[in-house]
Amino acid sequence: MKTNYKKFQEKFIEGLLMLSGTVTSLTVLLIVVFLFSEGLGVFNKKPIDDDFNLTIHAENRISKLSPSQVKNIFDQKIKNWKEVGGKDEKIILFKIDDISDFYTDDQLGKDFKNLSWCINDYIVKHRGVIAFFSKKYISKNFKGKILDVDKIKVSEFLSGDEWFPTARPVAQMGVKPLILGTLWVSLGAILIALPLGLAAAIYLSEIANSRIRNILKPLIELLAGIPSVVYGFFGLVIIVPLIQQLFNLPVGETALAGSVVLGIMALPTIITISEDAMRNTPRAMKEASLALGASKWQTIYKVVIPHSASGITAGAILGIGRAIGETMAVLMVTGNAAIIPTTLLEPVRTIPATIAAELGEAPNGGVHYQALFALGCILFIITLVINLLVEFVTKRKTLSKH
């Protein structure tokens, strides 16, 4: 009787544990599926606002343009239809704001009620025209041709140099500057955090006596608990002006500022993980080295550091992982210009900062909205790779021990 009850109890607890495990895994799976289904949706969309049309003269041979062609036409970099495969005909840009240059107020009518007629008229009369206007101005007997725009391509998305998701007539969805911005800031962060973190870890594990360690260790762990906005404030008030003055820049909001702030934020991770690894160096190994007349430093770099190499690597990678995903602090100090960085002293825009800053403005379900999810997917893949790397590094360690 009693054993039966105990058995039941054990089964019950087992079931509960299994349930929570399953729920967690399902939640993670759900998030990933959601992220990717939204994100990949962007490649099924045209980078043009659903409510707007691009129209051309009915006799124009062209029926489809790529997003970048449209952009270049409106930037007047392409001036003739033959450059995009049409007839030799000068391109005439028609903007709805200029309508009153061509039609009188009388023609336009009260409250612009004849606007659609005027637009139609203008398009019919100009063979080289290309016009961008709201769908609601298309009259019933519209005589122009509605131009098709290519869908966003994965290759263009990844390699595009420009990120203007709200640009008109077509949004520019090139994420290269954002990916590079993210990588630059993270790389800078790790270059700052790794030497510092390593030095601090060595000090804590090998040099500091137990009293100092007992004070410093919790302090460093506390550093990990500070909300990132606070780091952002610190960066904005101290690091940004400092960088501006130090390098004599017009603005201090740069990739470097982001790197410094992220570096500081990554420090606790790097320090605690590598310090743990170093303290795990078998005492016997250190004593063997010292007993052979090796100095403390020789013992540190010949025994302690090699022994904890995988721990140090894991710490560094996890530190970068945190840096790459970090949003708030970076948003506050990097200037957020979506340009491809050439030095650390320029403003950059990172992926998380872009998502955080733009998601609120992007209309739900639109191209911009989905493009931001696609950015989320890229970030997810980057961090996934990082986590796999950690896994690999730590696994190699356990293998080599046997």
């Binding site: 137990s210 190994m285 004593e287 063997a288 010292l290 007993a291 052979l292 007349g293 010949k302």
Partner: protein, 250 residues
């Protein structure tokens, strides 16, 4: 002059006194065994000779320890130099995660020796001294972890010999080994006596009797008796020594 001299040594871990007024002297080219029940302070005492206890926070030493007449705890003593002269073999074999060759070369390298040929000769020579040469000569480039426990321990002895110390401290060097490996190491200790002064901690009474010239019996931090090994084992002056040796306690 005695090789090692200990004068009224007291040692404390924090407030806990682990050694009480230990005085003894050890002659050159002898083997001295330190015996006594667990926790009586043998390891603590042994580790004073190469200042290994310096690594432990919160310890205090009173009294003097002289090696070749020099106070090894004097301000002017360089600890690294001292440890070159006083080698140590630990209870558990503790080779580095390096090749067999590099394990033995380690002490030379950290002491600034760069001459490749010299290092090679010294490594081979040391491995030969511990009678390990035939067993490892074909796998010097292999990891030291591929050796058996007994082989690893002999490698650790070779590693200590490579920098040519004059004193070798051994803390229960055979306690983790099988009888055959133990016999090999005992034989080795006996041979090494010609060149080195050896202090060995052991729980094995037969071993102490077989290999040592002098024996010190420790009990609760005190040195109860220190004499010729044959006297200790056949005719101890103290009853506590007698009881311990005959296995009545400890």
């Amino acid at each position: 002059m005695h090789k090692i001299e200990s004068k009224n040594v007291n040692f404390y871990y924090g407030t806990n006194q682990a050694l009480k007024d230990i005085s003894l002297s050890i002659e050159k080219n002898t083997v001295t065994a330190l015996i006594g029940p667990s926790g009586c302070g043998k390891s603590t005492y042994l580790r004073l000779f190469n200042r290994m206890n310096d690594l432990i926070d919160n310890t205090k030493l009173e009294g003097q320890i002289l090696i070749d007449g020099v106070d090894i705890y004097a301000k002017s003593t360089n600890v690294d130099t001292l440890r070159k002269n006083v080698g140590m073999v630990f209870q558990k074999p503790n080779p580095f995660p390096k090749t067999i060759f590099e394990n033995v070369a380690y002490g030379l390298r950290v002491n600034g020796v760069t001459d490749k040929k010299f290092i090679e000769e010294r490594v081979i020579n040391s491995i030969q001294q511990v009678a390990l040469w035939d067993e490892v000569k074909d796998k010097l480039k292999k990891s030291a972890f591929e050796l058996s426990g007994g082989q690893q321990q002999r490698l650790c002895i070779a590693r200590a010999l490579a920098i040519q110390p004059s004193v070798i401290l051994m803390d229960e060097p055979t306690s983790a080994l099988d009888p055959i490996s133990t016999a090999k190491i005992e034989e080795l200790v006996y041979e090494l006596k010609d060149k080195y002064t050896i202090v060995i901690v052991t729980h094995n009474m037969q071993q102490a009797g077989r290999i040592s010239d002098t024996t010190g019996f420790f009990y609760m931090g005190e040195l109860i008796e220190f004499d010729q090994t044959k006297n200790i084992f056949t005719n101890p002056k103290e009853e506590r020594t007698q009881n311990y040796i005959t296995g009545r306690f400890g």
